[in-house]
Structure formats: structure tokens, C-alpha cells
């Protein structure tokens, strides 16, 4: 291990140190304020190191590759984790029971997401995925006196475990063909299986590669909750404590997508027609199912779950179109990274606000009626939620619009007309149910209960996120150029 290795690992080390300190602190002195403080300091230290290594491009052992794109993703995730910490404190401070371990698990889950983002080896890929997963089981079931959260946790555990097993089995088949677990070697071996298994059985090798890739695709689709592997999503989102719904919808999904993007580009999977066809089908079904089922939802968490299914359907278009634009598929990176960042900030505002409403009366309030009259209760936060919903719907001047435009433009260049028409239909349906939420905020103020006044850190972080979403929507060039330069 050289100095550069340690520098490249510094964000992960910061989180590991933070987790250890938290463990000791919880063992000796339970104090929610102190725990929150240590967590926030940990995340800030991690952010500091991440900003320090933005230009670094370094392979640290075969396991992790620190490059500017993954560092960008990590910055987004850690920023969101930091905001989740503020929201969680507000959510937990008046709840009975031991709430300190919550933050330890948040730190560990965030660490998993960074490891996953940097992974270039099966070992780090699966460890990152499972570190995030296991911490999330604990977080989802955290209020275990709540029936719904237990149900959500066991569903998530079983399905996530099964999809991990499928992923592992798929990778085992690919490993049998290529003899390497290091992604660049593993995936480049797939293009010419004859070399690996000898010329006598290339047919057998192709079948194995196909089966392996299909299992991996199914596993990843489960984690990204793409239809038809989406069944668990609404239940798990509804049953989780509100801050964790945000974590699941933003960081957890974002990290899996970032890792998938890297896998896709390294493996040049756009050259495999079967995979591209599979992705196209997943994308179309996800957009249609996500948007159509979101129409009938009365619960905002469930609505956001379906909306996230649809958004990851849109994101897949960038991967599908990439192959026809550039031979190495690198053009997928810039639009999908932009879209993903926009989606994560936007969704975090919505889930953060639900958490704030749920914190104010110690219940899980996520029904349409709970945000009724929000414009009178707290105009500022209502404005934030409106911006977030408009961005999710893809209305101009928001990050969501620019992201969708980006993907649309890619689709036009690649001539993927079927996908584009589905995208337009999906967005059209989307506008209806997002606007329905905004209208319900303006309904009769007399029906509403108490006023909503979350603590200052929560308000400030939600407003910061809103400004970020608007900034990315009005002035997108800096981030675009940054992403373009670093890919």
C-alpha cells in the first residue's frame, strides 16, 4: 500500500473511523445529539477527502478503482447521507427506545454505497452491495415495534438476498468461462469465449455466458426495482421509516446504478444484442408500469416508489442508445450521471419532506391528506416540494427537465423511436399525478391539523437541495462540462 493508495481510500477510511468511534460512543454513553454530531462530522470529513481526490485516477489493489466519475457519484451520495442524518435526527428525537444505532447503520450503508461505486472486482462489488443491504435491513426494521416495518424488512431481506444469490451465481458462470474476477479481464474475456474454453466448446460457452448475463441482469433489475422485478418496491418504501425510504430511493439505487454503469461500459455490453434487447424490454415495461400504477396511489411513499421505477426506466434509455452513438459506449455516462444526480436531489426533497411531516407527530404520515393545506402551514417547504415534483415531472427550469432532455436528445441521435414514444407517453402520464400532489397541497387549509415547523437544519438542507435542483435546471453547463471532461 502506497501513500496514493491511502489517499484514494481516505473517504472510506473516514467512514470506517467514524463507524468505530460511533460504536465506542454508543457503548459508553448513549446520547442522540452527540451521535448525530459525530455522524455529521464523519460525513463532512468524508466529503472533504472526496473533494480532495476529485482529480485522482488510481487503481487501489484490484478491488477498487478511484476515478473522477465515481468520486462525483460518491460526493452526491455522501451529501445525501449527510442530509438524511439531519432528517433522521428530527425523525428520531422524540421516539422512544434506543435510537443511536440508527446512525451507525447509516454510516455503514453509506460506506457500502461508496465501495460499490468504486468496485472493479467481484469481491468489492458483492461486498459493497451486501454491506449496504445488511445495514439497510437493520434500518428498515429499526422501529421494530411497527408491524409494517417488520414486514417491509423481511420482504426486502428475502428478495434482496435472492437477487444477490442470482447475481453471484451469474458471476460464477462468467468466472468459469474467463477465469478472472477483475471486471476488465472478466468482461473482456466474454467477447471471445473461444480463447478461454478452447475451440471445441464455444457453443457451450456462449450458452453459459448468456445464462450468466441473464442472471446478473435479473439480479441488478431486482436491486434497481425495474419492472417486472419491482413488486417489492412499493411495500418496502411504504413500510420503511421515512428517512430510510429516502435512502432506499436515492443512495441505494444510485449506487447500484453507478456500479451497473461502470460494469456496462467496461464490459462494452452494448455490443451484445441480447442484453440490449433485454434492457429495452425492461425499460419499456418499467416506464409504463411505473407511471400507470402511480396514478392510483393515495400514499406518497408508494407513489414515489412507482415514480422511481419509471425514472430508472428512463435512465436505461441512455444505456441502450449509447452503443449506436459511440463504439465504446462511453456516451452513456454523461447523460445518465446528470439524470441520476438530478433524480437523487429531487427525490430526497420529497422524501425528506414526508419525513419532516412524519416527525412532527411521531407517526408515519404519507397520505395525500397529510400534505393537504401545506401551502398554508409552511409555504417555504411547500414551495420546495412543488419544485421537487415539477422536476420529477420534467417541467422546464428544473434538473429533471434537463436530464430528460439530455436522454431524449440521445434517443433522437440513436434513432430509438419506440423508446422515445414510450418516454413521451410516460412523462405525459407523470405530469398528471405529480400535479395532483401539488394541487392537494393547495386544498382547504381548515381541514389541516397543526402547523409544520421542522428544525433549522432540516429546513436549510431541503432549501439547499431545492436551490441545487433549480440551479442544475437553469444553469446546467458547469456540471455537464465537468462530467464531459472527466469521462
Amino acid at each position: 500500500m502506497t501513500g496514493t493508495d491511502f489517499l484514494a481510500l481516505s473517504p472510506i477510511i473516514a467512514l470506517a473511523v467514524g463507524a468505530s468511534v460511533l460504536l465506542l460512543q454508543i457503548a459508553f454513553l448513549r446520547n442522540l445529539k452527540l451521535t448525530t454530531g459525530i455522524t455529521v462530522v464523519t460525513f463532512l470529513a468524508c466529503l472533504f477527502f472526496l473533494f480532495y481526490i476529485t482529480k485522482l485516477n488510481h487503481q487501489t489493489t484490484p478491488l477498487l478503482l478511484v476515478d473522477p466519475l465515481s468520486t462525483f457519484f460518491s460526493i452526491v451520495f455522501v451529501l445525501c447521507a449527510c442530509i438524511t442524518t439531519f432528517i433522521s435526527y428530527e425523525y428520531l428525537k422524540n421516539r422512544p427506545g434506543r435510537n443511536d444505532e440508527f446512525f451507525l447503520l447509516v454510516v455503514l450503508a453509506t460506506m457500502g454505497s461508496i465501495v460499490l461505486t468504486y468496485a472493479t472486482h467481484l469481491a468489492s462489488f458483492i461486498l459493497g452491495l451486501e454491506l449496504m443491504g445488511i445495514a439497510l435491513y437493520g434500518l428498515i426494521a429499526y422501529p421494530h415495534q411497527d408491524d409494517m416495518s417488520l414486514e417491509a424488512a423481511i420482504k426486502y431481506l428475502v428478495l434482496s438476498g435472492a437477487s444477490s444469490a442470482a447475481l453471484l451465481f451469474g458471476f460464477a458462470l462468467l468466472y468459469a468461462i474467463t477465469g478472472s474476477l477483475f471486471f476488465p479481464d472478466l468482461l473482456s474475456g466474454l467477447a471471445s469465449p473461444e480463447v478461454a474454453v478452447g475451440p471445441q466448446s464455444p457453443f457451450w460457452a456462449r450458452q453459459l455466458i448468456l445464462l450468466g448475463s441473464a442472471l446478473i441482469l435479473a439480479g441488478i433489475s431486482f436491486k434497481l426495482s425495474l419492472a417486472p422485478f419491482h413488486m417489492w418496491t412499493p411495500d418496502v418504501y411504504e413500510g420503511s421509516p421515512a428517512p430510510i425510504t429516502g435512502f432506499l430511493a436515492t443512495i441505494s439505487k444510485g449506487a447500484v446504478f453507478a456500479a451497473t454503469l461502470r460494469l456496462y461500459v467496461i464490459g462494452e455490453f452494448h455490443n451484445f444484442p441480447t442484453i440490449v434487447t433485454g434492457l429495452t424490454i425492461l425499460s419499456i415495461i418499467s416506464i409504463l408500469v411505473g407511471n400507470l400504477l402511480a396514478l392510483r396511489q393515495e400514499n406518497i411513499k408508494r407513489l414515489l416508489a412507482y415514480s422511481s421505477i419509471a425514472h430508472f426506466g428512463y435512465l436505461l434509455i441512455a444505456l441502450i442508445a449509447a452503443g449506436t452513438l459511440t463504439p465504446n459506449g462511453i456516451s452513456a455516462i454523461e447523460p445518465s450521471a446528470y439524470y441520476l444526480a438530478g433524480y437523487i436531489f429531487t427525490t430526497l426533497i420529497a422524501t425528506g419532506l414526508i419525513a419532516a411531516i412524519s416527525s412532527s407527530n411521531n407517526e408515519e404520515n404519507a397520505n395525500l391528506s397529510d400534505i393537504a393545506g401545506l401551502f398554508w402551514k409552511n409555504p417555504l417547504l411547500a414551495l420546495c416540494l412543488s419544485v421537487s415534483l415539477l422536476s420529477l415531472a420534467g417541467i422546464p427550469l428544473t434538473a429533471g427537465f434537463i436530464g430528460k432532455l439530455y436522454i431524449f436528445q440521445m434517443g433522437v441521435e440513436a434513432g430509438a423511436w419506440l423508446l422515445l414514444s414510450i418516454l413521451i407517453i410516460g412523462s405525459g402520464i407523470g405530469i398528471y399525478y405529480y400535479l395532483r400532489l401539488i394541487f392537494s397541497m393547495t386544498t382547504d387549509p381548515s381541514s389541516s391539523r397543526s402547523t409544520l415547523a421542522p428544525a433549522l437544519p432540516v429546513t436549510v438542507s431541503l432549501i439547499t437541495l431545492t436551490i441545487l435542483v433549480l440551479y442544475l435546471g437553469i444553469y446546467p453547463q458547469p456540471l455537464m462540462e465537468y462530467l464531459l471532461w472527466n469521462t
Partner: protein
């Protein structure tokens, strides 16, 4: 010879898994699952991975299955104490797993006896695994420790009984 041993062990693994997952009684299922894991460990041994075989027995068949047994005991499902004990003495419960284990034992003795006579695959020793575990895979070990910490904290929190106050609130 090795091939024949592999097929028999594979058949035992499959049969035991199949029986395990179709049982009604969780403890009976666990016995078959342990047999299945022993068979898989034996296959690891045949494949020239003795260290993996030992780990499979110690951690999988040992630790993880015992964890299942503990939880089933804590839950006290179905009939209790003596009834369970009597039931376990019934030959129909233990005769098949014992038979399967006996076959595995014979297989193991045969393969150990033939260790020198046949050309065995290259055996990967524990030393080699240790070297690569603390060479290129050192970060995996570190991250795995964090994973276990997450598992520990999550399981400790979830498994905890609710405090008296909460329970009274629930019941009242």
C-alpha cells in the same frame, strides 16, 4: 473413481436439499440441510479445495445451522420438551440422514485411501489462500469486517425484546 465419488456426493447433496426443503418440521429440515452441506464440503475436497471444505463444515454446517437451531429453540415452535425428544428417538427421523452421512463417510475414507494412487487435481492449500487474502484481497477482508459489524448491530437491535414500557403499551 473420483468421478464416481463426485456423482454419489452430488446425488446426496441434491436429495438431502430436496428433502430438507419439503419438510414440515424445521428441525428435521435442518438435519437434512446439514447432510447436504457435508456432501458439498466433500465435493470441495474432491475438487482440491480442502480449506474450503473445512470452512464449509465449520461455518456453514456448524455456525450458521446452529444459529437456526437456536432460533427454532427460542421460538419453541409446536410441541415442547419431551414430546420433541421422543419424536427424535423415532428411527424414521434419523435413519435416512445417518445413512446419507454413512455413505459420505465411506466416500471420504475411499478418497483418502486413494489419495496417492490417483492423479489428483492440484490442491490449493490454506497457505496460498492466506497469502492472497492478505495480498490483493486485503481490502475485501477489511470491508467484510465492516459488513459483519453491520450484521451484528442490525441483528442485535432487531432481536432485542421490546422494553417493558413498550410491551405494556402494546397490550394495553
Amino acid at each position: 473413481m473420483t468421478l464416481a465419488l463426485f456423482y454419489i456426493a452430488g446425488a446426496i447433496a441434491l436429495a438431502a436439499t430436496g428433502i430438507a426443503l419439503t419438510r414440515v418440521n424445521a428441525i428435521h429440515a435442518l438435519i437434512y440441510l446439514v447432510v447436504s452441506l457435508l456432501a458439498v464440503a466433500f465435493i470441495f475436497f474432491l475438487l482440491g479445495a480442502p480449506f474450503a471444505a473445512v470452512l464449509e463444515i465449520v461455518i456453514y454446517a456448524g455456525a450458521i445451522m446452529v444459529l437456526f437451531v437456536f432460533v427454532i429453540m427460542m421460538l419453541n415452535l409446536g410441541n415442547r420438551g419431551t414430546v420433541v425428544e421422543q419424536e427424535m428417538m423415532n428411527p424414521s427421523v434419523w435413519i435416512i440422514p445417518s445413512l446419507l452421512c454413512l455413505i459420505l463417510l465411506i466416500e471420504l475414507s475411499l478418497s483418502i485411501a486413494s489419495l496417492k494412487s490417483e492423479t489428483n487435481p492440484i490442491v490449493v492449500s490454506a497457505k496460498e489462500i492466506g497469502i492472497s487474502l492478505f495480498g490483493p484481497y486485503v481490502l475485501a477482508v477489511e470491508i467484510a469486517s465492516m459488513l459483519l459489524l453491520a450484521g451484528l448491530v442490525a441483528a442485535n437491535h432487531i432481536g432485542r425484546r421490546l422494553s417493558k414500557m413498550d410491551q405494556e403499551k402494546d397490550e394495553g
